[in-house]
């Protein structure tokens, strides 16, 4: 198949655009994921701090082998 110079230029431009879009999507997705990860880690830490403030008598055992 023969390609004209014009076709080559268009093909290269499209390919660059696709690559740029894919890169943008990947980096946007990675950025969103890192935000989710940060929020999740902060949530765990916040829960720990909340529970740490809650006083429990030393005699209270965990609800191991939980029964209703």
């Amino acid at each position: 198949m023969k390609l004209t110079r014009r076709q080559l230029v268009v093909a290269a431009a499209v390919s660059n655009a696709v690559a740029a879009t894919a890169f943008a999507q990947t980096s946007a997705s990675a950025s969103a994921n890192s935000e989710f990860a940060k929020a999740a880690r902060e949530g765990v830490q916040r829960n720990g701090e909340t529970l740490a403030k809650f006083a429990v008598p030393v005699s209270v055992e965990p609800a191991f082998q939980f029964k209703a």
Binding site: S29, A40, G48, T50, V60, E61, P62, A63, F66
Partner: protein
């Protein structure tokens, strides 16, 4: 078969099967075809099993012909959330990484229903991993977002999205769902059906996906409270294969519960203020119905515990252990909701001391509920404080800005009652903006009959549970 059959309660179907108005094969075939045709409309169907169910129904019809009766569920087909294993067929847990997973034995509850001649007609859709890790989009599922039969632009609720939508749309006479914290109550409320979360340990979880060993429960989602009682009687009972089993059975006998005139139900006046304004007329009317039934409503306060931190820490630590290999293998990133994947990874770092602290506070929570139930027989609250959210919006979107009421009311009842292992029922009590509104009742452990007695009396006075979406 007329449309009304697809919405008929269990005792009605049972009577008609015995009278030979139709056979179990005819009913199962009709239900299976309807489920296969309409299930995808709501993203409610995970796996059709019509052929197998019809074969099972043939045996059931032979028994019915010989008048060998096995109880009210005999010959009535049902659907099950896709976290229950059905031997030799995919059990996906609603999640891409488990899309081809096959177990070689049935979940105990499926065997129990098979024993009474109830054919499994399909596996129903669910939120991936029953929401493990915490999801923020309705589309967090292998089968796409659960769509609400009352409005396809709205969510069906989760994580038992398929069971609730399928029952609401008359695609199955009843279904099995599961709840760790809200996964039966929420979709039942959003879809306008009746859902019963049993006491922790009353129903075997053997063969069910574990999410949180100390919180998981399996329960029925049905058209009526009575149907829930009938199904619970069959699926309950001790099971040495379930370490959490209480070794107890349940017998459907709401007639032996305390008389309504002697029943005290705790409520929080501020609950109506916490609810979105559009829900308030339905909730006010529901409370009036309860008063008209003769029950005594007593203002009650839920104790002040860090509910969110407790439930998140316990589920988080247990699910991170359950899904340890999913997380470490990196396959967790195949989940549809990236925030869920990140949640699971973060939960793997919950310190042991934090988990143990939460479990110690949980002991106090149980004591607090014992004290509450010295003064009242049940608790009542809105199942949810808003209508089903739009599928297109994140589930954690901030609601409308309002001045919060001075007291928290029962807003944390779902988390609190799950932490204490208590049973609950959610039943429809009205509509707001064309979408169902649910009321929930919570009882002391193993008092399911008390819940059902009140819910049945409510449904005898109202017809919200008989309303059908425009399918």
């Amino acid at each position: 078969m007329t449309d009304e059959v697809f919405f008929a309660p269990i005792p009605d179907l049972n009577t008609r099967l015995k009278k030979r108005e139709f056979s179990s094969v005819e009913l199962t075939k009709a239900v299976g075809e309807r489920l296969e045709k309409l299930g995808p409309r709501f993203n409610a169907l995970a796996l059709p099993l019509t052929k197998i169910a019809v074969e099972r129904a043939k045996d059931v019809d032979k028994e019915l012909k010989r008048e060998r009766y096995r109880g009210p569920l005999q010959g009535i087909p049902f659907g099950a959330k896709d976290l229950l294993s059905f031997a030799g067929h995919p059990t996906t847990w609603g999640a891409k990484p488990f899309e081809t997973q096959v177990f070689d034995e049935n979940a105990t509850v499926l065997d129990k229903l098979d024993d009474v001649g109830s054919p499994l007609v399909g596996k129903l859709a669910m939120v991936e991993l029953a929401g493990g890790g915490g999801y923020r989009i309705a589309g967090a599922s292998l089968t796409g977002p659960g769509l609400n039969p009352w409005d396809l632009a709205r969510w069906s609720g989760g994580s038992s999205s398929g069971p609730a939508a399928a029952v609401a749309a008359g695609l199955v006479p009843f279904a099995l769902g599961s709840e760790t914290s809200g996964s039966i109550v929420t979709p039942a409320a959003f879809c306008g059906v009746t859902g019963l979360r049993p006491t922790y340990g009353l129903v075997s979880r053997h063969g069910a996906m574990p999410l949180s060993w100390t919180l998981d429960k399996i329960g029925p989602i049905c058209h009526t409270a009575e149907d829930c009682g009938q199904v619970l009687q069959v699926i309950s009972g001790g099971d040495s294969n379930d370490p959490g089993s209480a070794g107890k059975s349940y017998y459907y006998a709401p007639q032996f519960a305390r008389k309504l005139s002697e029943t005290k139900i705790g409520f929080a006046a501020s609950d109506v203020e916490w609810a979105d304004p559009e829900l308030r007329p339905a909730l006010d009317a529901a409370m009036k119905t309860l008063r008209d039934m003769g029950v005594n409503l007593v203002e009650t306060k839920l104790p002040d515990y860090p509910w969110g931190a407790l439930i998140s820490t316990i589920i988080g630590a247990e699910e991170a252990s359950v899904f340890e290999s999913l997380i470490s293998s990196g396959k967790v990133d195949q989940l549809a909701d990236p925030s869920q994947a990140e949640g699971l990874k973060a939960n793997a770092a919950i310190p042991a001391t934090q988990y143990l602290k939460a479990m110690r506070v949980r002991t106090l929570v149980q004591r607090s509920f014992r004290e509450i139930f010295e003064n009242v027989d049940l608790l009542v609250a809105p199942s949810r404080y808003g209508i089903a959210p739009k599928v297109s919006e994140p589930l954690d979107s901030p609601g409308p800005q309002r001045t919060p009421p001075p007291t928290p009311g029962m807003r944390n009842l779902i988390a609190a009652s799950n932490l204490a292992g208590l049973p609950a029922i959610s039943f429809p009590c009205g509509f707001a903006s064309g979408l169902p509104v649910g009321l929930q009742l919570v009882a002391p452990a193993f008092r399911e009959n008390s819940l059902l007695a009140v819910a049945i009396a409510f449904q005898n006075r109202t017809d919200w549970h008989k309303r059908r979406p425009p399918v």
